[in-house]
Protein backbone atom coordinates (compact mmCIF):
# COMPACT_ATOMS: atom_id res chain seq x y z
CA UNK A 1 0.00 0.00 0.00
CA UNK A 2 1.42 3.28 -1.14
CA UNK A 3 0.27 5.94 -3.58
CA UNK A 4 0.92 3.49 -6.45
CA UNK A 5 -1.19 0.58 -5.17
CA UNK A 6 -4.19 0.96 -2.92
CA UNK A 7 -6.31 -1.47 -0.96
CA UNK A 8 -9.98 -1.09 -0.15
CA UNK A 9 -11.93 -3.64 1.87
CA UNK A 10 -15.72 -3.71 1.97
CA UNK A 11 -17.08 -6.69 3.87
CA UNK A 12 -15.94 -9.89 2.17
CA UNK A 13 -14.63 -8.11 -0.95
CA UNK A 14 -11.21 -6.47 -1.20
CA UNK A 15 -10.12 -4.35 -4.14
CA UNK A 16 -6.47 -3.77 -4.98
CA UNK A 17 -6.05 -0.91 -7.43
CA UNK A 18 -2.86 -0.32 -9.39
CA UNK A 19 -2.67 3.42 -9.31
CA UNK A 20 -0.24 4.83 -11.80
CA UNK A 21 -2.60 5.80 -14.60
CA UNK A 22 -0.36 8.42 -16.22
CA UNK A 23 2.15 5.60 -16.93
CA UNK A 24 -0.60 3.12 -17.93
CA UNK A 25 0.05 1.41 -14.61
CA UNK A 26 3.48 0.21 -15.72
CA UNK A 27 5.36 -1.81 -13.11
CA UNK A 28 8.08 0.08 -11.31
CA UNK A 29 9.91 -1.25 -8.28
CA UNK A 30 7.96 1.20 -6.11
CA UNK A 31 4.62 0.08 -7.54
CA UNK A 32 5.49 -3.59 -6.96
CA UNK A 33 6.42 -2.72 -3.37
CA UNK A 34 3.00 -1.16 -3.01
CA UNK A 35 1.35 -4.31 -4.34
CA UNK A 36 3.43 -6.49 -2.00
CA UNK A 37 2.22 -4.38 0.92
CA UNK A 38 -1.43 -4.77 -0.19
CA UNK A 39 -1.10 -8.55 -0.42
CA UNK A 40 0.78 -8.77 2.90
CA UNK A 41 -2.06 -6.87 4.52
CA UNK A 42 -4.66 -9.14 2.90
CA UNK A 43 -2.96 -12.19 4.42
CA UNK A 44 -4.01 -10.70 7.78
CA UNK A 45 -7.64 -10.26 6.72
CA UNK A 46 -9.36 -13.64 7.11
CA UNK A 47 -12.79 -12.11 6.48
CA UNK A 48 -11.96 -11.34 2.85
CA UNK A 49 -13.47 -13.97 0.51
CA UNK A 50 -12.79 -12.33 -2.84
CA UNK A 51 -9.96 -10.02 -3.89
CA UNK A 52 -10.33 -7.99 -7.09
CA UNK A 53 -7.19 -6.61 -8.71
CA UNK A 54 -7.72 -3.81 -11.22
CA UNK A 55 -6.04 -0.75 -12.71
CA UNK A 56 -6.87 2.95 -12.29
CA UNK A 57 -7.62 4.80 -15.51
CA UNK A 58 -7.65 3.22 -18.99
CA UNK A 59 -5.06 0.45 -18.58
CA UNK A 60 -4.84 -2.61 -16.32
CA UNK A 61 -1.04 -2.76 -16.41
CA UNK A 62 1.14 -2.00 -19.42
CA UNK A 63 4.05 -4.18 -18.28
CA UNK A 64 7.49 -3.18 -17.07
CA UNK A 65 8.40 0.46 -16.61
CA UNK A 66 10.76 1.10 -19.53
CA UNK A 67 12.84 3.61 -17.61
CA UNK A 68 13.62 1.01 -14.97
CA UNK A 69 14.58 -1.79 -17.36
CA UNK A 70 16.85 0.38 -19.51
CA UNK A 71 20.24 0.43 -17.86
CA UNK A 72 22.05 3.29 -19.63
CA UNK A 73 21.29 6.53 -17.86
CA UNK A 74 22.23 8.62 -20.91
CA UNK A 75 19.52 6.82 -22.89
CA UNK A 76 16.83 7.58 -20.34
CA UNK A 77 17.43 4.53 -18.18
CA UNK A 78 18.08 4.15 -14.47
CA UNK A 79 21.85 3.84 -14.49
CA UNK A 80 21.46 0.92 -12.09
CA UNK A 81 22.51 -2.38 -13.69
CA UNK A 82 20.90 -4.44 -10.91
CA UNK A 83 17.51 -2.72 -11.01
CA UNK A 84 15.87 -4.89 -13.73
CA UNK A 85 16.85 -8.03 -11.84
CA UNK A 86 15.39 -6.68 -8.60
CA UNK A 87 12.23 -5.66 -10.43
CA UNK A 88 11.77 -9.11 -11.97
CA UNK A 89 12.53 -10.92 -8.71
CA UNK A 90 10.00 -8.71 -6.94
CA UNK A 91 7.38 -9.56 -9.58
CA UNK A 92 8.20 -13.27 -9.24
CA UNK A 93 7.69 -13.20 -5.48
CA UNK A 94 4.52 -11.16 -5.88
CA UNK A 95 2.98 -13.72 -8.25
CA UNK A 96 3.38 -16.58 -5.79
CA UNK A 97 2.14 -14.40 -2.93
CA UNK A 98 -1.02 -13.48 -4.84
CA UNK A 99 -1.65 -17.08 -5.83
CA UNK A 100 -1.36 -18.23 -2.21
CA UNK A 101 -3.94 -15.79 -0.83
CA UNK A 102 -6.77 -17.78 0.70
CA UNK A 103 -9.37 -15.52 -0.94
CA UNK A 104 -10.41 -16.10 -4.56
CA UNK A 105 -8.54 -13.53 -6.66
CA UNK A 106 -10.21 -11.93 -9.66
CA UNK A 107 -8.29 -9.88 -12.25
CA UNK A 108 -10.58 -7.16 -13.51
CA UNK A 109 -8.72 -6.33 -16.71
CA UNK A 110 -10.13 -2.88 -17.45
CA UNK A 111 -7.75 -2.16 -20.33
CA UNK A 112 -4.30 -3.01 -21.63
CA UNK A 113 -2.68 -5.95 -19.84
CA UNK A 114 0.70 -6.33 -21.49
CA UNK A 115 3.67 -8.56 -20.73
CA UNK A 116 4.13 -8.73 -16.98
CA UNK A 117 0.71 -7.06 -16.68
CA UNK A 118 -0.94 -9.91 -18.56
CA UNK A 119 1.07 -12.34 -16.45
CA UNK A 120 -0.26 -10.68 -13.32
CA UNK A 121 -3.79 -11.33 -14.62
CA UNK A 122 -3.00 -15.00 -15.36
CA UNK A 123 -1.88 -15.53 -11.76
CA UNK A 124 -5.39 -14.70 -10.58
CA UNK A 125 -8.02 -17.42 -10.16
CA UNK A 126 -10.34 -15.73 -12.63
CA UNK A 127 -9.79 -13.17 -15.39
CA UNK A 128 -12.63 -10.85 -16.39
CA UNK A 129 -12.14 -8.43 -19.26
CA UNK A 130 -14.04 -6.68 -22.05
CA UNK A 131 -14.05 -7.41 -25.78
CA UNK A 132 -11.87 -4.44 -26.75
CA UNK A 133 -9.20 -4.74 -24.07
CA UNK A 134 -5.69 -5.47 -25.32
CA UNK A 135 -3.90 -8.39 -23.73
CA UNK A 136 -0.74 -10.24 -24.60
CA UNK A 137 2.92 -11.01 -24.30
CA UNK A 138 4.90 -8.95 -26.86
CA UNK A 139 8.24 -9.68 -25.11
CA UNK A 140 9.76 -11.60 -28.03
CA UNK A 141 9.03 -8.65 -30.31
CA UNK A 142 11.53 -6.66 -28.23
CA UNK A 143 14.05 -9.47 -27.95
CA UNK A 144 12.93 -10.21 -24.38
CA UNK A 145 11.89 -13.42 -22.63
CA UNK A 146 8.65 -13.53 -20.56
CA UNK A 147 10.16 -16.10 -18.20
CA UNK A 148 8.47 -15.03 -14.95
CA UNK A 149 4.97 -15.14 -16.39
CA UNK A 150 5.42 -18.23 -18.59
CA UNK A 151 4.70 -20.76 -15.79
CA UNK A 152 1.47 -18.94 -14.96
CA UNK A 153 0.31 -18.90 -18.57
CA UNK A 154 1.09 -22.63 -18.82
CA UNK A 155 -1.02 -23.30 -15.72
CA UNK A 156 -3.78 -21.12 -17.11
CA UNK A 157 -4.14 -22.37 -20.71
CA UNK A 158 -1.88 -25.45 -20.95
CA UNK A 159 1.61 -25.95 -22.32
CA UNK A 160 0.84 -26.15 -26.04
CA UNK A 161 -1.29 -23.01 -26.30
CA UNK A 162 1.10 -21.12 -23.99
CA UNK A 163 4.04 -21.86 -26.28
CA UNK A 164 2.08 -20.65 -29.30
CA UNK A 165 1.09 -17.41 -27.55
CA UNK A 166 4.52 -16.59 -26.07
CA UNK A 167 6.49 -17.33 -29.25
CA UNK A 168 4.16 -15.32 -31.47
CA UNK A 169 4.33 -12.22 -29.29
CA UNK A 170 2.02 -9.33 -30.12
CA UNK A 171 -1.24 -8.49 -28.39
CA UNK A 172 -4.80 -9.75 -28.79
CA UNK A 173 -8.31 -8.51 -28.12
CA UNK A 174 -10.31 -9.48 -25.05
CA UNK A 175 -12.50 -11.58 -27.31
CA UNK A 176 -9.52 -13.59 -28.57
CA UNK A 177 -8.13 -13.89 -25.03
CA UNK A 178 -11.44 -15.47 -24.03
CA UNK A 179 -11.32 -17.89 -26.97
CA UNK A 180 -7.95 -19.25 -25.91
CA UNK A 181 -8.67 -19.26 -22.19
CA UNK A 182 -6.59 -16.34 -20.93
CA UNK A 183 -9.82 -14.55 -20.04
CA UNK A 184 -12.58 -16.52 -18.32
CA UNK A 185 -15.33 -13.94 -18.65
CA UNK A 186 -15.56 -11.25 -21.33
CA UNK A 187 -18.11 -8.43 -21.36
CA UNK A 188 -19.21 -6.99 -24.70
CA UNK A 189 -18.07 -3.45 -23.89
CA UNK A 190 -15.92 -1.63 -21.39
CA UNK A 191 -19.08 -0.17 -19.86
CA UNK A 192 -20.34 -3.67 -18.96
CA UNK A 193 -17.16 -4.71 -17.20
CA UNK A 194 -18.28 -3.58 -13.74
CA UNK A 195 -21.54 -5.52 -13.99
CA UNK A 196 -19.81 -8.64 -15.35
CA UNK A 197 -17.27 -8.54 -12.52
CA UNK A 198 -19.85 -7.85 -9.82
CA UNK A 199 -21.91 -10.82 -10.95
CA UNK A 200 -19.10 -13.34 -10.51
CA UNK A 201 -17.81 -11.68 -7.34
CA UNK A 202 -21.30 -11.99 -5.90
CA UNK A 203 -21.36 -15.73 -6.65
CA UNK A 204 -18.07 -16.21 -4.81
CA UNK A 205 -19.38 -14.33 -1.79
CA UNK A 206 -22.37 -16.68 -1.67
CA UNK A 207 -20.12 -19.74 -1.46
CA UNK A 208 -18.69 -21.13 1.76
CA UNK A 209 -15.38 -19.32 2.39
CA UNK A 210 -13.75 -22.41 3.89
CA UNK A 211 -14.87 -24.58 0.98
CA UNK A 212 -13.42 -22.06 -1.48
CA UNK A 213 -10.14 -21.76 0.41
CA UNK A 214 -9.71 -25.53 0.74
CA UNK A 215 -10.48 -26.08 -2.95
CA UNK A 216 -8.08 -23.34 -3.99
CA UNK A 217 -5.36 -24.70 -1.74
CA UNK A 218 -5.72 -28.15 -3.30
CA UNK A 219 -5.58 -26.67 -6.81
CA UNK A 220 -2.41 -24.80 -5.81
CA UNK A 221 -0.87 -28.07 -4.64
CA UNK A 222 -1.84 -29.99 -7.74
CA UNK A 223 -0.56 -27.42 -10.24
CA UNK A 224 2.55 -26.64 -8.14
CA UNK A 225 1.64 -22.98 -7.77
CA UNK A 226 3.77 -22.66 -4.64
CA UNK A 227 6.98 -23.30 -6.59
CA UNK A 228 8.73 -19.99 -5.88
CA UNK A 229 12.07 -21.32 -7.09
CA UNK A 230 10.70 -21.81 -10.61
CA UNK A 231 9.60 -18.18 -11.02
CA UNK A 232 12.78 -16.88 -9.37
CA UNK A 233 14.78 -18.84 -11.93
CA UNK A 234 12.49 -17.26 -14.53
CA UNK A 235 13.42 -13.84 -13.16
CA UNK A 236 17.14 -14.66 -13.52
CA UNK A 237 16.64 -15.79 -17.11
CA UNK A 238 14.48 -12.83 -18.00
CA UNK A 239 17.00 -10.41 -16.48
CA UNK A 240 19.89 -12.03 -18.37
CA UNK A 241 18.09 -11.70 -21.72
CA UNK A 242 17.05 -8.15 -20.87
CA UNK A 243 20.65 -7.13 -20.22
CA UNK A 244 21.83 -8.10 -23.71
CA UNK A 245 22.85 -5.32 -26.06
CA UNK A 246 20.14 -6.13 -28.59
CA UNK A 247 17.37 -6.07 -26.02
CA UNK A 248 18.62 -2.85 -24.49
CA UNK A 249 18.75 -1.23 -27.96
CA UNK A 250 15.14 -2.30 -28.64
CA UNK A 251 13.97 -0.91 -25.31
CA UNK A 252 15.74 2.39 -25.91
CA UNK A 253 14.14 2.65 -29.36
CA UNK A 254 10.75 1.93 -27.77
CA UNK A 255 11.27 4.65 -25.14
CA UNK A 256 11.94 7.20 -27.87
Amino acid sequence: MNELASLNIEGPVATVTINRPEQRNAMSIEMLEGLHACIDRLEEEPGVVVTVITGAGRAFCAGMDLKQVIIDEGSGGSGEPMLPKRLLASLARLTVKIRCLSSVVVAKVNGAAIGGGCGLACVCDLVVTHADAKLGFPEVDLGLCPAVVAPWLVRKIGGGPARAVLLQGGVMSGTRAHEIGIADVVSPTRDDLDAATDEVVHRYTEAGPEALAATKSLLNDLDRSRDLDLVLRGAELSAAVLATEAAQANLIARLK
Binding site: G158, G208, A211, L219
Partner: protein
Protein backbone atom coordinates in the same frame (compact mmCIF):
# COMPACT_ATOMS: atom_id res chain seq x y z
CA UNK B 1 -31.37 -48.16 -8.56
CA UNK B 2 -28.45 -49.24 -10.71
CA UNK B 3 -29.45 -51.36 -13.68
CA UNK B 4 -27.05 -53.38 -15.79
CA UNK B 5 -27.73 -54.11 -19.44
CA UNK B 6 -25.37 -56.06 -21.64
CA UNK B 7 -25.75 -55.78 -25.36
CA UNK B 8 -23.09 -57.41 -27.48
CA UNK B 9 -19.75 -56.17 -26.20
CA UNK B 10 -21.25 -53.15 -24.45
CA UNK B 11 -22.07 -53.20 -20.74
CA UNK B 12 -24.46 -50.35 -19.96
CA UNK B 13 -24.58 -49.19 -16.35
CA UNK B 14 -27.79 -47.20 -15.91
CA UNK B 15 -28.57 -44.79 -13.08
CA UNK B 16 -32.19 -45.77 -12.67
CA UNK B 17 -33.94 -43.41 -10.30
CA UNK B 18 -35.70 -41.10 -12.74
CA UNK B 19 -38.27 -39.79 -10.23
CA UNK B 20 -35.35 -38.28 -8.25
CA UNK B 21 -33.42 -37.10 -11.32
CA UNK B 22 -31.09 -40.05 -10.65
CA UNK B 23 -29.89 -38.42 -7.44
CA UNK B 24 -27.16 -40.63 -6.00
CA UNK B 25 -27.35 -42.64 -2.81
CA UNK B 26 -24.26 -44.19 -1.16
CA UNK B 27 -25.66 -47.57 -2.20
CA UNK B 28 -25.91 -46.51 -5.84
CA UNK B 29 -22.31 -45.32 -5.77
CA UNK B 30 -21.09 -48.61 -4.34
CA UNK B 31 -23.19 -50.57 -6.86
CA UNK B 32 -21.75 -48.45 -9.65
CA UNK B 33 -18.22 -49.10 -8.39
CA UNK B 34 -18.92 -52.84 -8.15
CA UNK B 35 -20.39 -52.93 -11.64
CA UNK B 36 -17.27 -51.30 -13.08
CA UNK B 37 -14.91 -53.48 -11.02
CA UNK B 38 -16.73 -56.57 -12.29
CA UNK B 39 -15.79 -55.55 -15.81
CA UNK B 40 -12.21 -54.91 -14.71
CA UNK B 41 -11.92 -58.27 -12.96
CA UNK B 42 -13.66 -60.33 -15.63
CA UNK B 43 -11.92 -63.36 -16.99
CA UNK B 44 -13.31 -65.84 -19.47
CA UNK B 45 -16.89 -65.34 -20.62
CA UNK B 46 -17.38 -62.00 -18.89
CA UNK B 47 -14.33 -60.65 -20.68
CA UNK B 48 -16.70 -60.40 -23.63
CA UNK B 49 -17.52 -56.92 -22.25
CA UNK B 50 -15.33 -54.63 -24.30
CA UNK B 51 -16.78 -51.18 -23.55
CA UNK B 52 -18.74 -49.58 -20.73
CA UNK B 53 -21.57 -47.08 -21.15
CA UNK B 54 -22.71 -45.02 -18.16
CA UNK B 55 -26.03 -43.27 -18.60
CA UNK B 56 -29.07 -42.04 -16.68
CA UNK B 57 -32.72 -43.00 -17.05
CA UNK B 58 -35.32 -40.26 -17.56
CA UNK B 59 -34.89 -36.55 -18.11
CA UNK B 60 -31.31 -36.11 -16.99
CA UNK B 61 -28.09 -37.94 -16.30
CA UNK B 62 -27.68 -37.16 -12.61
CA UNK B 63 -28.58 -34.37 -10.19
CA UNK B 64 -25.82 -35.18 -7.69
CA UNK B 65 -26.09 -36.53 -4.15
CA UNK B 66 -29.55 -37.11 -2.71
CA UNK B 67 -29.12 -34.61 0.13
CA UNK B 68 -32.36 -35.75 1.76
CA UNK B 69 -30.34 -38.68 3.07
CA UNK B 70 -28.06 -36.30 4.96
CA UNK B 71 -30.94 -34.69 6.80
CA UNK B 72 -30.47 -36.64 9.99
CA UNK B 73 -26.72 -36.89 9.67
CA UNK B 74 -25.06 -36.40 13.06
CA UNK B 75 -22.11 -34.13 13.77
CA UNK B 76 -19.83 -36.79 12.32
CA UNK B 77 -21.59 -36.39 8.95
CA UNK B 78 -21.36 -40.13 8.33
CA UNK B 79 -23.70 -40.14 5.33
CA UNK B 80 -22.00 -37.19 3.66
CA UNK B 81 -18.63 -38.84 4.21
CA UNK B 82 -19.87 -42.07 2.64
CA UNK B 83 -21.14 -40.04 -0.32
CA UNK B 84 -17.75 -38.42 -0.84
CA UNK B 85 -15.74 -41.62 -0.37
CA UNK B 86 -18.15 -43.53 -2.60
CA UNK B 87 -17.95 -40.92 -5.35
CA UNK B 88 -14.15 -40.91 -5.27
CA UNK B 89 -14.08 -44.72 -5.42
CA UNK B 90 -16.52 -44.81 -8.36
CA UNK B 91 -14.45 -42.33 -10.37
CA UNK B 92 -11.25 -44.22 -9.57
CA UNK B 93 -12.86 -47.52 -10.61
CA UNK B 94 -13.91 -46.04 -13.95
CA UNK B 95 -10.42 -44.74 -14.60
CA UNK B 96 -8.79 -47.99 -13.55
CA UNK B 97 -11.08 -50.03 -15.81
CA UNK B 98 -9.12 -51.40 -18.77
CA UNK B 99 -12.19 -51.03 -20.98
CA UNK B 100 -13.16 -47.60 -22.33
CA UNK B 101 -15.94 -45.84 -20.43
CA UNK B 102 -18.39 -43.70 -22.42
CA UNK B 103 -20.74 -41.39 -20.53
CA UNK B 104 -24.01 -39.91 -21.81
CA UNK B 105 -24.71 -36.55 -20.13
CA UNK B 106 -28.19 -35.48 -21.19
CA UNK B 107 -30.30 -32.89 -19.41
CA UNK B 108 -28.16 -32.23 -16.37
CA UNK B 109 -25.02 -33.53 -14.68
CA UNK B 110 -24.61 -31.46 -11.58
CA UNK B 111 -22.31 -31.61 -8.52
CA UNK B 112 -21.60 -35.31 -7.85
CA UNK B 113 -23.21 -36.04 -11.23
CA UNK B 114 -20.75 -33.73 -12.95
CA UNK B 115 -17.90 -35.27 -10.96
CA UNK B 116 -18.68 -38.65 -12.56
CA UNK B 117 -17.72 -37.14 -15.93
CA UNK B 118 -14.15 -37.13 -14.60
CA UNK B 119 -14.14 -40.92 -14.58
CA UNK B 120 -15.18 -41.33 -18.21
CA UNK B 121 -12.90 -41.57 -21.22
CA UNK B 122 -15.43 -40.14 -23.64
CA UNK B 123 -18.21 -37.77 -22.58
CA UNK B 124 -21.12 -37.11 -24.93
CA UNK B 125 -23.32 -34.24 -23.76
CA UNK B 126 -26.37 -32.36 -24.87
CA UNK B 127 -25.38 -28.87 -26.05
CA UNK B 128 -27.78 -27.29 -23.56
CA UNK B 129 -27.05 -29.71 -20.71
CA UNK B 130 -26.66 -28.10 -17.29
CA UNK B 131 -23.24 -28.92 -15.87
CA UNK B 132 -21.33 -27.62 -12.90
CA UNK B 133 -20.04 -27.85 -9.36
CA UNK B 134 -22.27 -25.63 -7.20
CA UNK B 135 -21.44 -27.38 -3.91
CA UNK B 136 -19.20 -24.60 -2.55
CA UNK B 137 -22.52 -22.89 -1.78
CA UNK B 138 -23.14 -25.69 0.73
CA UNK B 139 -19.70 -25.33 2.26
CA UNK B 140 -18.60 -28.54 0.51
CA UNK B 141 -15.47 -28.66 -1.63
CA UNK B 142 -15.66 -30.19 -5.11
CA UNK B 143 -12.03 -31.18 -4.52
CA UNK B 144 -12.64 -34.79 -5.60
CA UNK B 145 -13.00 -33.57 -9.18
CA UNK B 146 -9.84 -31.46 -9.14
CA UNK B 147 -7.26 -34.04 -10.30
CA UNK B 148 -9.51 -35.41 -13.03
CA UNK B 149 -10.68 -32.02 -14.23
CA UNK B 150 -7.06 -30.86 -14.35
CA UNK B 151 -6.20 -33.82 -16.58
CA UNK B 152 -9.21 -33.26 -18.80
CA UNK B 153 -9.70 -29.51 -18.90
CA UNK B 154 -6.27 -28.32 -17.75
CA UNK B 155 -5.37 -26.55 -14.54
CA UNK B 156 -6.88 -23.24 -15.67
CA UNK B 157 -10.23 -24.74 -16.60
CA UNK B 158 -10.35 -26.66 -13.32
CA UNK B 159 -9.64 -23.48 -11.33
CA UNK B 160 -12.27 -21.61 -13.35
CA UNK B 161 -15.04 -24.12 -12.75
CA UNK B 162 -14.38 -25.57 -9.31
CA UNK B 163 -14.31 -22.24 -7.48
CA UNK B 164 -17.31 -20.70 -9.27
CA UNK B 165 -20.63 -22.28 -8.24
CA UNK B 166 -22.37 -21.18 -11.46
CA UNK B 167 -23.72 -23.88 -13.76
CA UNK B 168 -22.55 -23.93 -17.39
CA UNK B 169 -23.80 -25.59 -20.55
CA UNK B 170 -22.53 -28.50 -22.61
CA UNK B 171 -20.94 -26.17 -25.15
CA UNK B 172 -18.82 -24.54 -22.43
CA UNK B 173 -17.97 -28.04 -21.17
CA UNK B 174 -16.69 -28.85 -24.65
CA UNK B 175 -14.68 -25.61 -24.78
CA UNK B 176 -13.01 -26.66 -21.52
CA UNK B 177 -12.31 -30.21 -22.70
CA UNK B 178 -14.61 -31.83 -20.15
CA UNK B 179 -17.08 -32.83 -22.88
CA UNK B 180 -15.79 -34.49 -26.05
CA UNK B 181 -18.82 -34.54 -28.29
CA UNK B 182 -21.95 -32.40 -28.37
CA UNK B 183 -25.38 -33.55 -29.47
CA UNK B 184 -28.18 -31.10 -30.16
CA UNK B 185 -31.11 -33.11 -28.83
CA UNK B 186 -31.69 -34.71 -25.45
CA UNK B 187 -32.73 -38.05 -26.90
CA UNK B 188 -29.79 -38.11 -29.27
CA UNK B 189 -27.21 -38.16 -26.46
CA UNK B 190 -27.75 -41.74 -25.34
CA UNK B 191 -28.01 -42.99 -28.92
CA UNK B 192 -24.72 -41.36 -29.85
CA UNK B 193 -22.96 -42.56 -26.69
CA UNK B 194 -24.18 -46.08 -27.36
CA UNK B 195 -22.97 -45.88 -30.92
CA UNK B 196 -19.50 -44.82 -29.73
CA UNK B 197 -19.43 -47.62 -27.14
CA UNK B 198 -20.37 -50.18 -29.80
CA UNK B 199 -17.66 -48.88 -32.07
CA UNK B 200 -15.07 -49.10 -29.27
CA UNK B 201 -16.24 -52.61 -28.44
CA UNK B 202 -15.30 -53.59 -32.00
CA UNK B 203 -11.67 -52.55 -31.55
CA UNK B 204 -8.74 -54.57 -30.28
CA UNK B 205 -8.98 -55.07 -26.51
CA UNK B 206 -5.21 -54.95 -26.09
CA UNK B 207 -4.74 -51.79 -28.11
CA UNK B 208 -7.49 -50.01 -26.17
CA UNK B 209 -6.22 -51.19 -22.79
CA UNK B 210 -2.63 -50.13 -23.41
CA UNK B 211 -3.67 -46.81 -24.94
CA UNK B 212 -6.04 -45.89 -22.11
CA UNK B 213 -3.43 -46.64 -19.45
CA UNK B 214 -0.68 -44.84 -21.30
CA UNK B 215 -2.78 -41.78 -22.13
CA UNK B 216 -3.57 -41.38 -18.44
CA UNK B 217 0.04 -41.84 -17.42
CA UNK B 218 1.13 -39.31 -20.05
CA UNK B 219 -1.38 -36.83 -18.65
CA UNK B 220 0.35 -36.94 -15.31
CA UNK B 221 -1.66 -39.60 -13.51
CA UNK B 222 1.48 -41.10 -12.02
CA UNK B 223 3.50 -37.94 -11.54
CA UNK B 224 1.80 -37.04 -8.30
CA UNK B 225 0.99 -40.26 -6.47
CA UNK B 226 -2.04 -40.17 -4.24
CA UNK B 227 -3.65 -37.19 -5.93
CA UNK B 228 -7.12 -38.68 -5.65
CA UNK B 229 -6.66 -39.60 -2.00
CA UNK B 230 -5.38 -36.13 -1.24
CA UNK B 231 -8.35 -34.56 -3.00
CA UNK B 232 -10.78 -36.77 -1.10
CA UNK B 233 -9.10 -35.80 2.17
CA UNK B 234 -9.55 -32.12 1.31
CA UNK B 235 -13.28 -32.70 0.92
CA UNK B 236 -13.68 -34.95 3.95
CA UNK B 237 -11.83 -32.62 6.29
CA UNK B 238 -14.36 -29.86 5.66
CA UNK B 239 -17.67 -31.65 6.16
CA UNK B 240 -17.59 -31.78 9.93
CA UNK B 241 -16.79 -28.06 10.17
CA UNK B 242 -19.33 -25.46 11.22
CA UNK B 243 -19.55 -23.97 7.76
CA UNK B 244 -20.65 -27.18 6.05
CA UNK B 245 -22.99 -28.20 8.88
CA UNK B 246 -24.70 -24.80 9.00
CA UNK B 247 -25.04 -24.49 5.25
CA UNK B 248 -26.35 -28.03 4.85
CA UNK B 249 -28.88 -27.39 7.63
CA UNK B 250 -30.13 -24.35 5.75
CA UNK B 251 -31.09 -26.63 2.86
CA UNK B 252 -33.76 -28.31 5.03
CA UNK B 253 -35.14 -25.01 6.26
CA UNK B 254 -36.06 -23.93 2.76
Amino acid sequence: MIRIETDGGVRAIVLDRPDKRNALTPEMLSDLTDAVRTVTAAKGDDAAVRAVLLRGEGKCFCAGFDLDLCRDDGPEQAVMKSFLSGLSAAIEAMRACPRPVVLAAHGAAVAGGCALLGGADIVVAERDAKLGYPVVRLGISPAISAPFLMDGAGAGGARRRLLDPALFDGAEGARLGLVHELVETRDGVTDRAHEIARSLAGKSVHGIKATKAWAMESAGEKTMPGRAARALDASLSLVTGDEAIERLASVWKK
